[in-house]
């Protein structure tokens, strides 16, 4: 088998090279180059470019605005993460015994998370409106200026962030007690070759994924699997069925559903607003009483840039997904199955690529795209989005490759199939559901992406949906109804994914620890 192993090494290089090259250029290089840039003074339009050493850092150290931002960010992060975890765990517990309406429950839960953050922003802006907002109405008609009052703005922002992030925490912490990873499986077993040792580590990002996998194994009766790499004891069956009185169960399910629906009210309120005439938007009672109208949708479709933006967003998200999958799938296979020197370091590096905040690499990416004269094109956005899409795809698909039983591949090999043929004809078809999951996640993230799209587009015609929505023009007053309608259009793909393609989405979500 030495020849085979040599071949494998070469194949691995070929399969990984495109993905690694793309990652190096689009994620690693900007992430490192930004450090170098931070030691320089650069104003390209004026031709200023010189080394200033730590001057910028020295300035920031004394800049009150910077320290204020640090303080606000710390408070924001600490408070929202704490709340998200507390609430998320509570909701996860609530969902645990859910029997009826489970799909609906998960759809309601995931909706806030799946919406573009710009839509969330617009929704809460409307909820917080001092005179016409739902929140002040519920609070008894107080005219509280939530976003205009310096002391209230931060709590108001935290509430919006908790609203959209809590569901994600809840989903990831579902059924924590049921799945107990088998520690023994983590240990390297005698006779297990290198690839498997890595496989064990990489393939269990979250217990839940393994649980799902195990269920599928049982259901699909994939005989060839020997459980290696799954990392769970086979004896651990889902429990908790049939306890409690039935009537009580129904009530409990209903309460959980009602609670989730209540959580999603900001979205429903925006949806309702989008169907109400402008004259009714001045007060909550009038909004509720007014007859529905399609005026806002007509206005958005006929007189705004939203139609063009929808096309741009669809194009960019679809191309990003395709690009990341085409580059990522072969690379993931190599990472999961083939001997790759320094595999550990590579995997770490790939994870590290996702650790740069977008705002840190947006500058270097801008310089790069400007040099390539790609600004204001789809290509620019696809390349920029690939910087976060590709690591995700590599990570997720490597995990899914491992779900494909090795024995299947061995059988193909005995039949004389080459590695590539095995990959193309056996492995890829078997992991199609995994590819669909990864693709959905990437599509969703690219659809919702704001910062890159905002930075790299210049003209109205090339804006994507989040940018168009963020810059939605108002003549002299904010056109809340039109904005609501535009928000609904921007939310369509996420809604379709959360409701119609939920199974794949959840699978992808729980298979890889996703950061927002």
């Amino acid at each position: 088998m030495t020849v085979r192993r040599l071949d494998d090494a070469r194949t691995a290089r070929v399969l990984l090279a495109p993905a690694l090259l793309a990652l190096a250029v689009l994620a690693a290089w900007p992430g490192l180059w930004v450090l170098w840039l931070s030691l320089q003074r650069r104003i390209p339009v004026f031709g200023i470019e010189r080394f200033v050493g730590p001057a910028h850092y020295a300035f920031l150290a004394e800049d009150p605005r910077f320290w204020n931002a640090v303080q606000v960010t710390l408070i924001f992060t600490f408070v929202s993460v704490s709340l998200e975890f507390l609430l998320g765990l509570g909701v996860a517990l609530g969902l645990q015994g859910q029997r009826r309406g489970r799909r609906l429950a998960v759809a309601l839960l995931l909706l806030p998370w799946a919406l573009p953050s710009v839509v969330t922003g617009r929704m809460f802006e409307w909820l917080y409106h001092p005179s016409a907002g739902l929140l002040n109405y519920v609070l008894g008609g107080e005219a509280i200026n939530w976003l205009g009052e310096p002391t209230l703005a931060l709590p108001a922002l935290i509430a919006a962030d908790v609203w959209r992030t809590m569901p994600f925490v809840a989903l990831l912490s579902r059924r924590p007690a049921r799945v107990r990873p088998d520690v023994r499986a983590h240990r390297r077993r005698p006779g297990q070759h290198d690839g498997d040792a890595h496989r064990v580590r990489v393939s269990q990002p979250l217990p839940d994924a393994a649980a799902g996998l195990r269920r599928r194994h049982r259901r699909c009766r994939v005989r060839a699997g020997d459980g290696r790499g799954v990392g769970l004891s086979q004896g651990d069956r889902p429990r908790g069925r049939g306890h409690g009185v039935r009537g009580r169960g129904v009530l409990r399910d209903a309460v959980v559903l009602a609670a989730l629906a209540l959580w999603a009210v900001p979205f429903f309120w925006q949806a309702l607003t989008s169907f109400k005439p402008d004259t009714a938007l001045l007060a909550v009672e009038r909004l509720l009483a007014a007859p529905p109208t399609l005026d806002h949708y007509r206005a958005v479709v006929q007189r705004s840039v939203m139609p063009a933006a929808l096309v741009n967003s669809l194009g960019v998200a679809a191309l990003t997904t395709a690009f990341a999958l085409v580059l990522g799938a072969p690379g993931a296979y190599a990472l999961a199955r083939l001997p790759v020197p320094g595999k550990h370091a590579l995997l770490l590096g790939i994870v590290a690529c996702t650790a740069f905040p977008q705002v840190a690499i947006v500058g270097p990416l801008f310089v790069l795209l400007r040099a390539l004269d790609l600004r204001d094109t789809w290509a620019a956005l696809v390349l920029a989005d690939t910087s976060f899409a590709l690591p995700l795809v590599l990570w997720l698909l490597a995990g899914f490759v491992r779900e494909v039983p090795v024995a299947v591949e061995e059988a193909a090999e005995i039949d004389g199939a080459s590695r590539l043929a095995t990959l193309g004809r056996v492995v890829l078809p078997l992991m199609a559901p995994g590819i669909a999951s990864a693709g959905l996640l990437v599509f969703l993230m690219a659809w919702n992406e704001l910062l890159f799209a905002y930075t790299f587009t210049a003209t109205e015609a090339s804006r994507t949906v989040p940018v168009a929505l963020a810059l939605f023009p108002g003549v002299y007053e904010v056109p809340w109804g039109d904005i609501a309608a535009a928000s609904m259009l921007a939310s369509l793909p996420p809604i379709v994914i959360v409701v119609g393609l939920q199974r794949w989405l959840v699978r992808g979500l729980t298979a890889g620890a996703l950061r927002d």
Partner: protein, 438 residues
């Protein structure tokens, strides 16, 4: 009317302009692409300008006249969106690196130095002498002549104005206030007598955008402060600058200005005043036409006055604004492009723009021209206001400086920072930025 206020974030007027602009641009593009380069074909000059909205657009007729005087030359006008930020972004992207697709451009006054420094503008000095600039308002000449050279021709003029409710002031025997202190007294008096809790005192633009820079600068100037000293120091009269901001904050705290002015732009404040719900308003000249329009609740009840000064401070200091015409340095027809710019800035063309399109010219004499005054009876008064106008600092880094200042000004207005702190922090940042530009 739009072109008058394109000094920044100009207001939109009509629905559907966006689609129409797009269609127009597309048509122009298609037409442009369809043309084959041909030695016999006439020279085509491309003129990029902000969308001219309003009752009529006098620009096409002027361009035809230019073509008539220059046989074999065709001028193609292409309009950009109304939004000043969009226009700026368009120019930056296209002037930097991409092939020159236009020859003549309409520039916001505050961009001229920036574009000149970046090397995007043709130096007009060989054609345009200082003497040729003299008939224009002084505050338009300063931005056109950065670094001792002429980079652009003044074209359209703007100035900050105090609008007042002549009927209300007259009712109580008051005349337009010369100082802000007097203005506050008048507000208190009129409101007490009117017993109308919904009547606001004075409206201005406090949203965090270029308009805030303008309003805050005017307040600082009125209080005897400056943004830059002669030696380049930032806010040399620190106390006075802080005092200017403190006064704006005090307007809000005392209720003379409603708290929402910190979210107001030109149109929001103009509408509120136009509905008859405020006594005073700081805005640009364009607002007058709308106040006097048929059906306006304040028609015939509005007066214009210079922006007030401060007791113990300077006399009134209003900011100027407007548009200049520049030539793309990479134009293939510099002689013709310069000729077009000079033609459009001539008295005759400016008069046509003013009479036909309700735009404010930069040539001082036109404000007393008989034909112009017949259409715009208030122009002699506007002339005096414009004469006093002060340009915003002329520096290539203007936009950078302005966007750095805005959050500090805004923080002072909403009370997150004390005015003194805001000026101190602004000074720190501006000094650091300017140091980097050297």
């Amino acid at each position: 009317m739009l072109a008058r206020s394109h000094a920044y974030d100009a207001p939109v007027l009509t629905g559907g302009w966006r689609g129409r602009a797009l269609v127009l641009v597309l048509c122009v593009l298609v037409a442009g692409c369809a043309q084959r380069p041909d030695a016999a074909a006439p020279v085509t000059l491309v003129f990029k300008h902000a969308k001219i909205l309003g009752p009529s657009d006098p620009v096409p007729a002027l361009l035809r006249e230019f073509e008539r005087r220059h046989p074999g030359v065709r001028v193609q006008a292409e309009s950009l969106s109304w939004n000043s930020d969009d226009q700026h972004q368009f120019f930056v992207i296209n002037l930097e690196g991409r092939g020159a697709t236009f020859d003549v451009m309409m520039l916001d006054v505050v961009w001229v130095a920036e574009f000149a420094r970046a090397g995007w503008l043709l130096d007009l000095s060989p054609w345009v002498t200082r003497a040729e600039l003299e008939p224009h308002f002084p505050s338009t000449i300063a931005p056109a002549t950065w670094n001792g050279r002429v980079w652009a021709m003044p074209w359209l003029m703007n100035v900050g104005i105090l609008y007042y409710r002549a009927d209300l002031l007259g009712k109580y025997g008051l005349t337009p206030p010369r100082t802000w202190e007097a203005l506050v007294d008048q507000v208190v008096r009129v409101r007490a007598a009117e017993r109308n809790p919904r009547l606001d005192g004075v409206l201005w633009q406090g949203r965090q955008y270029e308009g805030l820079t303008v309003n805050a600068l005017e307040a600082i100037w009125a209080n005897g402060g400056r943004m830059f000293g002669a030696d380049g120091t930032v806010f040399p009269e620190e106390e006075r600058a802080a005092g200017g901001l403190a006064f704006l904050r005090a307007l809000i705290v005392s209720g003379v200005s409603p708290s929402w002015v910190t979210a107001a732009d030109e149109e929001l404040s103009r509408r509120h005043f136009g509905d008859g719900r405020a006594i005073f308003l700081r805005n640009w000249p364009y607002a007058m036409d709308l106040f006097q329009a048929a059906g306006s609740p304040v028609r015939g009840r509005v007066g214009m006055a210079p922006l007030p000064g401060r007791v113990g401070g300077a006399v009134s200091a209003a900011s100027s604004g407007g548009a200049h015409l520049g030539v793309n340095r990479r134009t293939r027809h510099p002689e013709l492009a310069v000729a077009l710019v000079r033609f459009l800035a001539e008295a005759e063309a400016q008069k046509t723009m003013t009479v036909g399109g309700a735009l404010n010219p930069t040539r001082m004499a036109l404000y007393h021209d008989r034909d112009v005054v017949r259409v715009h009876p208030d122009f002699p008064l506007v002339h005096d206001l414009m004469l006093r106008a002060r340009p915003r600092p002329v520096t290539p880094a203007y936009l950078m400086l302005s966007t750095t200042l805005q959050p500090e000004f805004s923080a002072a207005l909403v009370g997150v920072k004390s005015p003194r702190q805001a000026i101190e922090h602004a000074r720190l940042r501006l000094s650091y930025l300017l140091e980097g530009l050297r």
